[in-house]
């Protein structure tokens, strides 16, 4: 069964350092999502791509976060500099089409980030 791959699974960093997360969606999925999930809460959408284009990044803190999907396949989410409040689970998901269509999202296992 095809899965969304993410790496690393765990990341510990000190504040003010840079961190990067990688996601490889299910082959053929045009839409890719990055979410942040704080413990005890639901996932919050950070950025959404359709192929290589950003569809929504309204909740992405653009002063420190950046995301790219250069060839419309895999994607990287970067934080620079990391702050204590960035400690969370970062989830990547993909779907065949945009959210307005009747399709489900497939989630990866996530990257647990701890900022010290």
């Amino acid at each position: 069964e095809a899965e969304v791959a993410q790496s690393p699974r765990y990341k510990i960093t000190e504040k003010s350092q840079a961190v990067a997360f990688w996601c490889d969606p299910i082959s053929g999925h045009a839409t890719l999502y990055w979410y942040r999930q704080i413990l005890g809460q639901g996932p919050e959408l950070l950025v959404q791509f359709q192929d290589e284009s950003v569809v929504d990044d309204s909740q992405l803190p653009k002063d420190r976060f950046s995301a790219e999907r250069l060839k419309g396949v895999d994607s990287t989410l970067k934080i620079q500099p990391a702050e204590l409040g960035d400690s969370a689970m970062y989830l990547c998901a993909s779907s065949l089409e945009l959210a307005g269509s009747l399709n489900e999202q497939f989630f990866g296992p996530g990257t647990r980030l701890t900022v010290l």
């Binding site: 999502y33 979410y35 005890g40 809460q41 639901g42 996932p43 919050e44 959408l45 959404q48 359709q50 569809v55 929504d56 989830l91 998901a93 945009l98 959210a99 307005g100 009747l102 489900e104 999202q105 497939f106 989630f107 990866g108 296992p109 996530g110």
Partner: protein, 111 residues
């Protein structure tokens, strides 16, 4: 911000009992989906219900949608210990491509 709120926040039941959790949202939606999250498998899609549907079944799951009340419910029948997880509703706002997840219900099924 999160537009969906699940109720209750936490639920503990005995194996074999039914579990019902509710989701309320604030604005018009295109569709509503339920997801399950446990530590072993991450977030998994359970069921999707369109805005023009009122009820949908999938195995032991039954979902209802009342757009006039802006609410949905998820019923899990004959629960099993393996159903222990957090359950989230996710809505797609009308006219947008954005999923918004609720706050989640933590279900614990006791063997």
């Amino acid at each position: 911000s999160q537009q969906g709120e699940e109720d209750p926040q936490a639920l503990s039941i005995q194996e074999g009992e039914n579990a019902t959790m509710n989701c309320s949202y604030k604005t018009s939606i295109n569709n509503l989906q339920w997801y399950r999250q446990n530590s072993g498998r991450g977030l998994v899609h359970l069921i999707l219900i369109r805005s023009n549907e009122r009820e949908k079944h999938s195995g032991r799951l039954r979902v209802t949608l009342d757009t006039s009340k802006k609410s949905s419910s998820l019923l899990i029948t004959a629960s099993r210990a393996a159903d222990t997880a957090s359950y989230f509703c996710a809505t797609v706002l009308s006219g947008t491509y954005k999923y918004i997840f609720g706050t989640g219900t933590r279900l614990k099924v006791l063997a």
